[in-house]
């Protein structure tokens, strides 16, 4: 064994173990796999947003040299029912002549080379009997009720978005000294990961191998097996590296099933790497949200009432609830009334996106808190401190750990909050303003499984079927194993991304770190326990060498309280488990041109124990940049006559580029372990950084130019229009 690591392995800013693979091009993503004899697939999307297919004429396309087969719904088997919460879409495409949204696959072109597949797909003629679109604002808003909603497809929608009430909000609002009552809007936005989704499928008799781009590979066999009616045990999924997910690759989407089905039909491997344009309708997006939020407060700024009514668009056939009301536990408030409705429109199904729930709900809540502070002449931090929730407001449970006060304090210090010029200042053509907000994200947890092998030569192997989506988890697992076993991090090898390894939970909602660092720690403790039966030395390798075993294997199973398959916000742990933070922004606005620039940002987060200071910092920088995109740049708009996404490319959908982002982003953590959240004391980090930052940025714009924006993104045109309206 190499010398034990100096100090502690956990928390150290270790470089990513997969870094060399990524900078040399050796890291393999799904579309980098090409089994011999594989055909390239392209999809032909429905040209209208709803209606019926009259005829698909593939004759010209079939004449293209290299085209082997063109499949329509007539060629596909009838799929079995797929499981909800694993399959994103339950009404699978290519099962009938019905069109449910524009871009829905209606034909699959299979060719020996990608050039032929791309050319041929433009030559397939799809004739339709269209039905008129239903656009946002034209649909019927359906209130989600407490009882389970069952829609026409039989989908049961559970508690998400169910109404929640405590106290008498009407009375509290009527008697409140101040009231903020406004509507906030955020547009639909797509994930726009740089790796488009892709699936390579190969059959060997009854066995199916899938190279996939997925955030939760363990559910892929279940869904494909259900659709194609086979044994999930016959499906192997290989998915080590994923080129960005952000929620969009969390559930299993139809193209993954179609690739496997097509490969079976033609009896050859099939590679389906979605084109960029196809991505906009092949997976989900964060839906357009309209949020009415009302706060009542006393003269000294203590909240007396919170009303929050959320509406999001969904597809015509399935219900997706964007549970923005999940912010109701941020502040102490005696009267709360939240409700949620969904509006079906002719569009593909939305899905979670960084940051779902709180990321959506804090936009109005934190904006309203800033408006309240301004109305009362109270500092924005002070008003938040006055409403600090010492226990979870909706249940009265104690927090597992909560260090939000320290986050405000440290953030204010790092930013220089109390010495900022209030009401903005000028610098050349620019107006400079500052703003802040709280961040929060409730902990979502899944069970985890891992195996750790300690070998006689001192090598340690961690085995777990988890993806690398860029969070740095694989490095964390090596650090945890090293610390638990007292070895060096270099002695640990991590194997991941193959369903032949121990199955574990997903890589979304920040749950991967909690489940998998816990499972690895438990597996290491299992090794120690087994060795304890042979020897009482503390050195695991000495102990192993006192036996005649070639190696020793530890199994780690991380269970949630009451062995549930998933829990939220602490579940049955007896504690409320939630992360918190404080975010500060300084922006520059050019009132003549309407341009807005990020000058600097500070984020301080309480996410339990920091497992790796370097990857944690990157996660948070990525989140703040994500929030900048939401605040200043991004929107996916539907064409008002066709209900088709107007821009299906990375040129017209603006996402942040390097020049948009300041180097002056400061990240800090309140690095305190949470003993109730996980075995290692970690909580999730992937999402919280993108919550609240939009409200901080909008407040900074208000500080700079005196305009309150309640609709995102804050574009140059909107700035100029608002200033013109104010006569400036």
């Amino acid at each position: 064994m190499t010398a034990p690591t100096e100090g502690r392995a956990i928390g150290a800013p270790r470089p990513r173990i997969e870094g060399p693979l990524k900078v040399t091009g050796a890291a393999r993503y799904s579309a980098d796999n090409a089994p011999p004899d594989a055909l390239h697939a392209t999809l032909v999307g429905a040209p209208v947003c709803q209606g019926r297919i009259v005829d698909v004429d593939a004759s010209a396309a079939l004449a293209v040299e290299g085209v082997v087969r063109i499949l329509t719904w007539h060629d596909l088997p009838t799929f079995g029912p797929v499981p909800p919460w694993q399959a994103a879409v339950l009404n699978l495409p290519m099962q009938s002549d019905r069109i449910q949204h524009e871009g829905e696959p209606v034909a699959i072109v299979l060719a020996t080379d990608i050039q032929a597949a791309e050319q041929a797909r433009t030559m397939v003629t799809v004739r339709c009997a269209p039905t008129p679109p239903v656009l946002p604002g034209q649909g019927r808003r359906n209130l989600i009720t407490a009882s389970e909603e069952v829609d026409e497809s039989g989908l049961v929608e559970g508690e998400r978005g169910a109404p929640f009430r405590i106290g008498d909000v009407d009375a509290a609002l009527a008697s409140s000294a101040v009231r903020v009552s406004e509507t906030w809007i955020q547009p639909s936005r797509h994930h726009n990961f740089i790796e488009t989704s892709g699936t390579v499928a190969r059959w060997d008799g009854d066995l199916l191998t899938v190279w996939d781009s997925a955030q939760a590979s363990f559910i892929v066999p279940n869904v494909i097996a259900a659709a194609l009616q086979l044994d999930p045990g016959n499906i192997r999924v290989i998915a080590p590296h994923v080129g960005g997910g952000f929620g969009g690759k969390g559930w299993v989407w139809p193209h993954q099933i179609l690739a496997a089905a097509a490969a079976r039909i033609v009896d050859r491997p099939v590679k389906l790497h979605l084109g960029r344009a196809d991505q906009y309708t092949s997976t989900g997006f964060q839906p357009l949200l309209d949020q009415f939020l009302e706060l009542g407060a006393t003269e000294d700024g203590r909240l007396t009432a919170l009303r929050h009514q959320v509406s999001n668009i969904t597809s015509m056939t399935e219900v997706y609830v964007e549970a923005a009301t999940e912010v109701k536990d941020l502040y102490a408030c005696p009267a709360i009334d939240v409700s949620q409705s969904v509006e079906p429109v002719t569009v593909n199904l939305p899905t979670p996106m960084r940051t779902t729930n709180e990321g959506c709900g804090l936009w109005p809540l934190e904006s309203a808190m800033n408006e309240l502070a301004h109305r009362l002449g109270v500092d924005p931090i002070e008003i938040r401190l006055r409403n600090h929730a010492d226990r979870e407001p909706t249940t009265g449970r104690a927090w597992s750990t909560k260090h939000l006060r320290e986050a405000y304090e440290e953030g204010a210090r790092l930013f220089g909050w109390y010495s900022r010029p209030r009401g903005g200042r000028s610098e050349g053509n620019w107006r400079i303003g500052t703003g802040m907000a709280s961040s929060t994200m409730g902990q979502i947890r899944f069970p985890g499984n891992a195996t750790v092998v300690l070998q006689r030569d001192g090598d340690v192997v961690v085995r777990v079927d988890i993806q690398d989506i860029g969070t740095g988890l694989q490095t964390l697992l090596a650090q945890v194993a090293a610390e638990e076993l007292g070895t060096s991090v270099e002695a640990v090898r991590v194997e991941w991304g193959d369903s032949d390894l121990p199955s574990t939970g997903p890589m979304y909602a920040g749950s991967g770190t909690v489940a998998n660092t816990s499972a690895v720690a438990l597996a290491c403790r299992d090794i120690r326990k087994q060795l304890g039966e042979h020897s009482d030395t503390d050195d695991v390798l000495d102990a192993l060498r006192q036996t005649d075993l070639p190696q020793i294997t530890g199994d780690g199973r991380y269970e949630l309280p009451n062995r549930v398959p998933m829990d939220m916000y602490g579940g049955d742990s007896g504690y409320a488990i939630r992360s918190f933070g404080a975010v500060f922004a300084e922006v520059a606005v050019d009132p003549e041109l309407g341009i807005m620039r990020m000058r600097r940002m500070v984020g301080v987060y309480d996410c339990g124990r920091v497992m790796n200071a370097r990857t944690a910092r990157s996660q948070m920088i990525g989140s703040l940049v994500w929030a900048w995109g939401k605040s200043a740049l991004e929107r996916s708009e539907l064409d008002p006559t066709t209900a088709r996404w107007m821009s299906k490319n990375l040129s017209s959908v603006h996402i942040p580029v390097n020049a948009d982002i300041s180097d002056l982003i400061t990240i800090a953590f309140i690095d305190e372990p949470d003993p109730y959240a996980s075995v290692t004391g970690a909580r999730a980090m992937g999402e919280i950084g993108a919550t609240g930052a939009d409200a901080a940025i909008a407040e900074a714009v208000f500080d700079a130019i005196g305009v309150r924006f309640r609709e995102l993104p804050i574009t140059p045109k909107r700035i100029l229009d608002a200033l013109a309206e104010m006569g400036r």
Binding site: V23, P47, A60, I194, G243, G275, R276, N649
Partner: protein
Amino acid sequence: MTRSQILNDGGVAPDDPAGDTPTNQEPLAPALAVNVRLHVNGAQHAVHVSARVTLLDWLRDDLRLTGTKKGCNEGACGACTVLVNGRRMNSCLMLVAQCDGSEVTTIEGLAGPDGHLHPVQQAFIDCDAFQCGYCTPGQVLSAVACIQEGHTRSPEEVREWMSGNLCRCSAYPQITSAVLAAAEGKV
């Protein structure tokens, strides 16, 4: 004349809802093929290739050099960046047919023959300049060229000249640090 008038009169490009609606085309005559000689990462290739094949698809599908990534296939993301005669190019926008006589360097050809990382590759690891890594081969090659071009005199200049490479994981500040560190020989 105000600055906003100049902008308005100068005609800021309108939103461009670029179309991707399938359009019907006449079947093309069998694709024309051309003879091309080029070097890729030092190795010589003499190929007979269909004229419509992009450098990106040829590298990935024919040479199996899959380190070069496809993000958009239309010049918008930079994931496919390679060096052609030392200049950074979006390989999805170049045809192999245009590369006759060229020297192409992909991410696989950047490290030394002994596997020793190029300073830019090492700087990306040291500065944590990636997360998922999908944009990274393109970022690294773009950075190599950016440094050679001399566009590294300030963080602002690096940010501007590295803006052709999108990173949705948003490692931008770390990418800027890595480019500056490599440019200053601090690796």
